[in-house]
C-alpha cells in the first residue's frame, strides 16, 4: 500500500545528559504557546528525589511544562519531564507510565526506554531528538524511532557540551539529521 508522502508528526521525544539543561534552554523556551505537539523529555540528573527542572522550564517557557505523573494523558503543547529515578514510558493509549525497573545503561530514567516505547505508540508520527551527553544512552532508542519511520535529529557533536551521546547516536543512525540547536528548534517548529 502506498504511504502518503508527508505524514503529520504527532509527538516529539528528547534525550539529553551532561550539558542538557543549557541545550534544552535553547529549545523549550522558544516554542510558541500554541505549539501543538506533546514533547516528552528524559534528562539524566542525579537521583535527588525532588526535581526542580520542570518548574524551572515552566517559568521561562510559553508551552506548559510538567513533571510526568503516572498515567498522565498526553496532551499537545505540553512538555513532560521524566521524574528522577523513574523510567518514563509511552502507552499505546497515549498515556504516560512510570516504572522503577532496573536502570538501562546505568540510567534511570533511560532515554532508550522512552524512545522505544514512544516509537511503538506513535510509529512514523514521532520525532526523536538526541542532544549533548557523556554516555551512549539514546542511540538504540533513536534507532527504534527511525526503524518505525520516525524522524531523527541529533545535535552537532562539535557544538555539544559533551559529544559522546550525539556521536553514539550518529553511529547508530547514519540517516538522522545532524543539526545545531537553532536548526533543531526550527525543525520542531516546522513539524507542527
Amino acid at each position: 500500500m502506498p504511504e502518503p508522502a508527508h505524514k503529520p508528526y504527532r509527538a516529539v521525544v528528547i534525550g539529553a545528559s551532561a550539558g542538557g539543561l543549557k541545550a534544552l534552554s535553547a529549545i523549550l523556551p522558544h516554542l510558541p504557546a500554541d505549539y501543538p505537539l506533546p514533547i516528552m523529555v528524559v534528562i539524566h540528573v542525579p537521583p535527588h528525589r525532588r526535581s526542580l527542572i520542570a518548574p524551572l522550564f515552566e517559568e521561562k517557557s510559553q508551552v506548559r511544562v510538567v513533571e510526568a505523573e503516572d498515567k498522565t494523558p498526553i496532551e499537545g503543547g505540553c512538555v513532560f519531564f521524566a521524574p528522577p529515578d523513574y523510567h518514563l514510558l509511552v502507552e499505546r493509549s497515549f498515556e504516560l507510565s512510570l516504572s522503577s525497573e532496573a536502570p538501562v545503561l546505568f540510567s534511570r530514567p533511560s532515554i532508550d526506554v522512552l524512545f522505544e516505547t514512544a516509537a511503538d505508540a506513535y510509529g512514523d508520527g514521532l520525532i526523536g531528538v538526541i542532544l549533548t551527553g557523556a554516555n551512549n544512552d539514546g542511540a538504540a532508542g533513536l534507532k527504534a524511532v527511525m526503524a518505525y519511520g520516525g524522524k531523527g535529529l541529533i545535535q552537532t557533536p562539535a557544538t555539544a557540551f559533551s559529544r559522546a551521546m550525539p556521536e553514539a547516536a550518529i553511529e547508530a543512525c547514519p540517516s538522522a539529521l545532524i543539526l545545531d540547536l537553532d536548526d533543531i528548534l526550527l525543525e520542531l517548529k516546522n513539524a507542527a
Binding site: E69, D70, E91, S100
Partner: protein
C-alpha cells in the same frame, strides 16, 4: 516494514499473557503494556527464544519456567524508608490520628521483599503503635514474599537505608533493628511477629480485612487505569471511614474513578484519606 512485525508481535504477546492466565492464573492481561512488553522482550532474548510464541510454548510446557518468568513480569525494586518524606509525613501527620484507635490493621499491598513492611514495623515501634497493630504484607511473587519473611538484606544497602530512616525522622539508630554478619543484615524477627504474609493479587483477589491504613506504593504504575480502578476499589472497601491510603511518590488518584471517594490528606506525599459516609 516494521509496523507489520510489530502487529504480529502484539498478537503473540497477548496470546502469551492469555496462556499464562489460563494455566497459572496470574493475570497480567491488563497491565500497562509498554513496560511489560519491554520486560518480556528481555525474557524472550534471555531464554533464547525467537518469538513470544516460542516463549509461550516454554512457559506452558517446561516446569519451573513460570517462576522464572515471574521475575520478569513483576518488578522487584524497593528500599527501607523509600522516599523518606512519605514516612516523615506518616509520623507527623497520620500517627496522631492512628493513636486514637484501640487496635489497628495495616495493609502493605505489593510488599515485594519486605523493605516497606520493615519500615512500617520500625516506625510503628518508634511511635508506640506496634503493640496494637496487625500488619498484612501481600504480594503475588512467592519468591519476594519468602525474602520478606526472612528479612535479610545485603549489608551494603544499609548505608542508604540508614540515611533514609534518619530522614524519615527515625528516633533511634537503624542498626538497633538488625544484626550484621557475613555481608548481610538480618532484621530482628520480633519486627514481624505481628505480620501476616500472604499471596494476594490486587487483580484477581478480593478484600480480606477491614483496615485503617493501606500502603500500596509503586505497584499501580504497572497497571492500566482500569486495573488501577479495581485495586483502588479494593482499598476503598477495605478501609474504615477516614482510613488512610498511601501511594508511591509519582502515583496519584487524580485520574482515578475513585478520586472523589478520598480527600488529599498530604498532597506531596501522596497520602489520601477515605471520606466519611462512603
Amino acid at each position: 516494514m516494521p509496523n507489520a512485525i510489530a502487529r504480529t508481535e502484539d498478537i503473540e504477546l497477548r496470546l502469551l499473557l492469555e496462556a499464562i492466565f489460563l494455566k497459572y492464573h496470574y493475570d497480567f492481561r491488563n497491565y500497562a503494556l509498554a513496560s511489560i512488553k519491554r520486560r518480556l522482550t528481555q525474557a524472550r532474548d534471555q531464554f533464547g527464544c525467537r518469538s513470544f510464541s516460542q516463549l509461550q510454548d516454554m512457559v506452558l510446557n517446561e516446569s519451573g519456567m513460570m517462576d522464572e518468568l515471574l521475575g520478569y513480569l513483576t518488578v522487584q525494586v524497593s528500599e527501607l524508608f523509600r522516599d523518606p518524606a512519605y514516612f516523615r509525613a506518616i509520623r507527623e501527620k497520620v500517627v496522631p490520628h492512628l493513636k486514637t484507635y484501640p487496635s489497628l490493621k495495616v495493609w502493605i499491598a505489593g510488599c515485594s521483599s519486605g523493605e516497606e513492611l520493615y519500615s512500617f514495623a520500625i516506625l510503628f515501634r518508634e511511635e508506640g503503635l506496634e503493640e496494637r497493630t496487625m500488619f498484612y504484607a501481600t504480594d503475588i511473587n512467592a519468591d519476594a514474599l519468602r525474602k520478606a519473611e526472612m528479612g535479610v538484606y545485603a549489608l551494603e544497602r544499609m548505608k542508604l537505608f540508614t540515611e533514609n530512616h534518619r530522614l524519615s525522622g527515625g528516633k533511634s539508630s537503624l542498626s538497633d533493628y538488625y544484626t550484621a554478619g557475613y555481608g548481610a543484615a538480618t532484621f530482628d524477627k520480633s519486627l514481624r511477629k505481628r505480620t501476616v504474609f500472604s499471596d494476594h493479587s490486587l487483580v484477581t483477589d478480593a478484600v480480606f480485612a477491614e483496615t485503617q491504613f493501606v500502603s500500596c506504593r509503586n505497584v499501580l504504575i504497572y497497571f492500566t487505569r482500569d486495573l488501577q480502578g479495581r485495586a483502588i476499589g479494593l482499598f476503598k472497601d477495605s478501609l474504615t471511614r477516614n482510613g488512610f491510603l498511601g501511594l508511591g511518590a509519582k502515583e496519584t488518584l487524580r485520574f482515578s474513578p475513585h478520586a472523589d471517594e478520598f480527600t488529599e490528606f498530604s498532597r506531596d506525599e501522596r497520602l489520601y484519606q477515605k471520606r466519611g459516609g462512603i
